[in-house]
Amino acid sequence: MIWAAVLLGSAACYALKALGYVVPERVLDKPVVAQLVGMFPVALLAALLAVVTLADGMAVVVDARVAAVAAAAVALMLRAPFLVVVVVGAATAAVIRALGG
């Protein structure tokens, strides 16, 4: 039964991924669809960013991650490269936790 769930679930997830690549181009060329498709990833990634920053299971908690994202935002404003932004985020959270925050 577990194998059935693993294989059927994987097939379903692949089918959903692939569906995005087989939608006819003329559908995507419609102005409304084109607008939506351009906005979907921003919407989903922004929500994902907020959730990985603030959610702990189904609870909303403000912890070291918030300070880490704030520090990462400052690094971005200072035009820091990607790797620096990520390290600043991780280090901020690690330091706050080491200090017992």
Partner: protein, 227 residues
Amino acid sequence: MSGTANPDDTRRGVLIEAATIGLTTGAYGVSFGALSVTSGLSVWQTMALSALMFTGASQFALVSVLAGGGSAVAAVAGSALLGLRNLFYGLRMRQILQPSPALSVPAAQLTIDESTAMALAHYDRPEPRPALAFWSTGLSVFVLWNLGSLIGALGASSIGDPERWGLDAAVPAAFLALLWPQISSRRLLGVAVVSAVIGVALTPVLSPGLPVLCAALVPFFFLRRAS
């Protein structure tokens, strides 16, 4: 806003970003592998999920449903629902990458949060490299997510809790860095802010993963009449 961020547009810069994202994601692969075997899946079943399903939120959903005594049907439905967001990513990636039919097959499998975010962060730049960003990130995450899953499934999760090294904070920092250059207009800023608020507001009331999916409704409220 666009122009204030400075993603490294060189080939080497893109590859370093892809490797960094693979490493942080791989650390979560260890957590997934450990959770999967403690939920009653075998090492082979765990590895099949990481290689074949290869979309973290759906994988966590599937093993959580099974661990909670849910049916295979419920587990498949849960993982498919969370996998729906990759459909939205696929629509955009297909436009940007325009892969041949043969390349669409692996491109679809690698269409996840991280590869999409990277492709978009490196699109529309002085030196656009969306395809390099997409493929290098997809492959790097695929390899390290699977390696992490194997390590976790084999019981080596004692190498550490991702939180201890601040890795749980590295993930939002990375997504912020990738989202930043994409916010190129007031409208997209509005989409991002409303989506973030909705994701957090729905967190206490919906199962994990669904609040993010609900953000797919936000763009409908930001449509403009054809110009």
